[in-house]
């Protein structure tokens, strides 16, 4: 494998930045069949592949890419689906550059196989092709006959959907309880349409429905029904995947001013409640001309790019370290900057300043310098004492979240760690309550879709074993 012979990565077709900053259509347009096959054929088909172990759910990348290189979408899908129940989602939102693609043997050349894009292609092609549509339709017949085993999944984010899918495929009767009126968790209320169209999530959910999973929306476990009550009512096991949805505020003066929003509120209004269609949709939307977004994760990127699409004249991300330390997907930062989002590095918010009438007028920030690496391995920001006011009429806070509180308060006997997240057995996912399992952000704190899925999968395997499904 002489380096010189390696063909470059097939670029992903994208919407033009100047056009896309004015719409909510998907930014990355997806490979064509020819592009996908060309990219797949770059794969070295290593005898000892490392990509698979780079993936938290261990997708057999080499295997599915081999099928794809032959144009066999159905075969490729079967391989992916074997370990990944939400491939169209993962192909879009996973931080591949830190996972499978980093482990790719071609990574040192700077041109690893575009595994995520290929995964996306396979899932999209599978879901839209006629041949596969009949396979999907037939799934309701070929699924395992249901056994007298009932499992409840609480929440409908990627961890629960994964657990539900796996258990249903093994013949359990699975009910998913979701507090909101839509299924998908962060995938529908947090991640915007231009990165993850709702129809993609809906397709994956429909797939689960065909497997026999029952979905109950508007059911808040801990309020509408207790966790213990679920066990008493005949669910032999419960998987808790309630996520880390509680927004954190920086605790600085002025944060109750009108015009200061948590990213969760802002994104929920826009995504779940479709406020971007206001007044056709009833939910009103905070409008800003000069918008600042505090944070450096995916949440901050999504909020900033959403504000831009909603007509802000100027959107600035305020981050206390530098771009190199930002925890977001690299691609999202690049896309945001291409679209016109500005990034102010090395500034930390110290106060919100009002206009005297209760509305936000500016964000006071303090300049920082980078010191030594901290526990997270990232260089620690150190305050300098110099401050400045950034004029702003809308500020969106995306500095992190805490455990979703409702179920936890109603179930105080569920053991938690000192940050309030549920404690589980790392091997099995079991909580301090027997036959109650947990996974995803409610265990780890805000993390990623694929890690949540991995946790759902591990717990489901253990549940299946305990209930005699395998």
């Amino acid at each position: 494998m002489a380096r010189g012979k390696i063909r470059p990565r097939v670029p992903m077709p994208m919407q033009d930045p100047l056009v896309r900053r004015g719409n909510f259509h998907e930014v990355a347009l997806g490979y064509t069949r020819e592009q996908a096959m060309a990219e797949a054929s770059r794969c070295l088909q290593c005898t000892k592949p490392t990509c698979q172990s780079g993936c938290p759910v261990e997708v057999d990348c080499k295997g599915f890419i081999a099928h794809l290189a032959q144009g066999d979408v159905e075969g490729a899908f079967a391989v992916i689906r074997h370990t990944n129940s939400l491939p169209a989602v993962c192909g879009r939102v996973c931080p591949q550059e830190k996972q499978c693609e980093r482990a790719c043997k071609l990574a040192p050349t700077g041109e690893p196989i575009a595994i995520g894009r290929l995964e996306r292609f396979v899932a999209d092609a599978y879901y839209t092709s006629d041949a596969c549509a009949s396979a999907i339709a037939a799934a309701s017949h070929c699924r395992m006959p249901q056994r007298d085993v009932r499992v409840a999944c609480v929440g409908s984010g990627p961890s629960s959907l994964t657990a539900a899918g796996l258990l249903a495929a093994l013949g359990a009767q699975v009910t998913v309880f979701e507090g909101l009126h839509e299924i998908g968790g962060v995938l529908v209320y947090g991640i915007p349409e231009f990165r993850l169209p709702k129809r993609i999530v809906a397709t994956e959910v429909e797939h689960l429905r065909r497997l026999g999973v029952e979905f109950r929306t508007n059911w808040v476990v801990g309020q509408t029904i207790g966790l213990r009550a679920l066990l008493e009512r005949g669910y032999q096991a419960v998987f808790v995947g309630t996520g880390a949805g509680l927004p954190q505020f920086p605790g600085i003066p002025g944060e109750s001013l009108l015009g200061v929003y948590s990213a969760n509120e802002y994104l929920t209004r826009v995504n779940l409640m479709r406020a971007y269609e206001f007044p056709r949709a009833d939910t009103p939307l905070p409008q800003g001309r000069r918008v600042t977004v505090i944070g450096g994760g995916n949440v901050a990127m999504d909020a900033a790019r959403t504000a831009l699409r909603l007509g802000a004249l100027e959107v600035t991300i305020v981050y206390r370290r530098t771009q190199a330390e930002m925890p977001c997907r690299q691609e999202e930062l690049e896309h945001a900057v291409e679209e016109g989002v500005r990034v102010r590095e090395l500034v930390a918010p110290v106060a919100f300043e009002g206009d005297g009438k209760g509305w936000l007028a500016g964000l006071r920030v303090e300049h920082m310098v980078l010191g030594e690496p901290d526990d997270s391995g990232r260089r620690r920001p150190i305050p300098t004492g110099t401050t400045e006011v950034l004029p702003t009429d809308l500020c969106i806070i995306g500095i992190g979240t805490g455990p979703n509180p409702v179920l936890l308060r109603a179930t105080p006997e569920l053991a938690r760690n000192r940050w309030g997240y549920i404690v589980t057995d790392p091997e099995t996912g079991e909580t301090s309550i027997p036959m109650v399992f947990a996974g995803g952000d409610i265990v780890t704190g805000a993390a990623t879709v694929v890690l949540a899925m991995g946790a759902g999968r591990r717990a489901a395997q253990e549940i299946a074993r305990r209930l005699g499904l395998v």
Binding site: V220, G358, V406
Partner: protein, 277 residues
């Protein structure tokens, strides 16, 4: 989908009562709880207090004031029709313990929310006095219903068309002068009313509980829209409340936050029936 079993105009064109078939919610509902509902696929999520619940019949009662888009749409639904989403019960239930004499103060539509709380207090054995008020007699709610379990129902109207002329705080002040042994006051209604009640009881040192009507989106502690300042700290009304210690609440901030979307709400209301069928 939740079926409307019964519907009546309490005050025509203004206040509507609905009994909804919602067995799971009815079974779990306690005084102080609320629901969040949505009327159509493009609709917003709005919170309404559970004014009463009947676990045996599997029903809950809501009483709402028609103020904007969603409540207007809801008011248009008839008996037998269905509400798209009803989620609940949400919030912390009222802390009900036997303390002796309790006064429950309700203003306007807040009387409905107060009704369930007052009933809870009566059920745990407290002697409950209801103090209710409205602008005029025809705008009063639940006077008769409260009379069924309250020791006494005191009425105040601004125009004196029923009960004493004046505000609920006037009636409350007189009552507390005669009954200094009142252990707890509950106030549910418009922000200025709850604030006035809290200011009245503060020097008397009487525990005062208020139910805050902050703007909400999810109602599950996820968005932070409902944040209120209580005792200097940020609390979320949907999961920490909606009831809080009236002496610790920052009412100025609450009042300001309630105005956040007024222009958009007007625009949305103006659009009702025009923008979508």
């Amino acid at each position: 989908m939740t079926r409307i079993v019964h519907r009546r105009d309490i005050i025509p064109g203004q206040t509507v009562e609905m009994v909804l078939h919602a067995p799971a919610i009815a079974a779990a509902a306690r005084p102080g709880h609320f629901v969040i509902l949505r009327v159509h696929p493009m609709g917003e999520r709005i919170p309404l207090t559970i004014a009463d619940a009947d676990a045996a019949a599997g029903t809950i009662t809501i009483v709402f004031l028609v103020v904007g888009t969603t409540t207007a749409r809801l008011a248009q639904l008839s008996e037998g029709e269905e509400i798209l989403d009803v989620c609940g019960p949400l919030g912390q239930a009222t802390h009900l313990v036997r303390v002796g004499k309790v006064v429950c103060v309700g203003g306007g539509t807040g009387i409905a929310a107060m009704h369930h709380i007052a009933k809870g207090h009566a059920q745990v054995g407290n002697q409950v006095t209801a103090v209710i008020g409205a602008r005029s007699a025809d705008l009063l709610l639940f006077e008769e219903e409260l009379g069924r379990f309250c020791h006494e129902v005191l009425v105040a109207t601004n125009d004196g068309s029923r009960g004493v002329r004046g505000l609920v705080t006037d009636a409350l002040r007189r009552h507390l002068a005669i009954h200094p042994d009142v252990a707890e006051v509950v106030a549910v209604g418009p922000v200025p009313m709850m604030r006035a009640v809290a200011e009245l009881t503060r020097p008397l040192g009487i525990k005062t509980v208020v139910s805050l009507n902050s703007i909400m989106v999810d109602g599950m502690g996820m968005c932070g829209a409902c944040r209120v300042r209580v005792g200097g700290e940020i609390r979320f009304a949907c999961v920490d409340g909606p009831e809080f210690d009236g002496h610790a609440v920052d009412f100025d901030e609450l009042a300001a936050r309630l105005t956040a979307f007024v222009p958009q709400e007007r625009q949305s209301y103006g659009c009702l029936g025009v923008c979508h069928g």
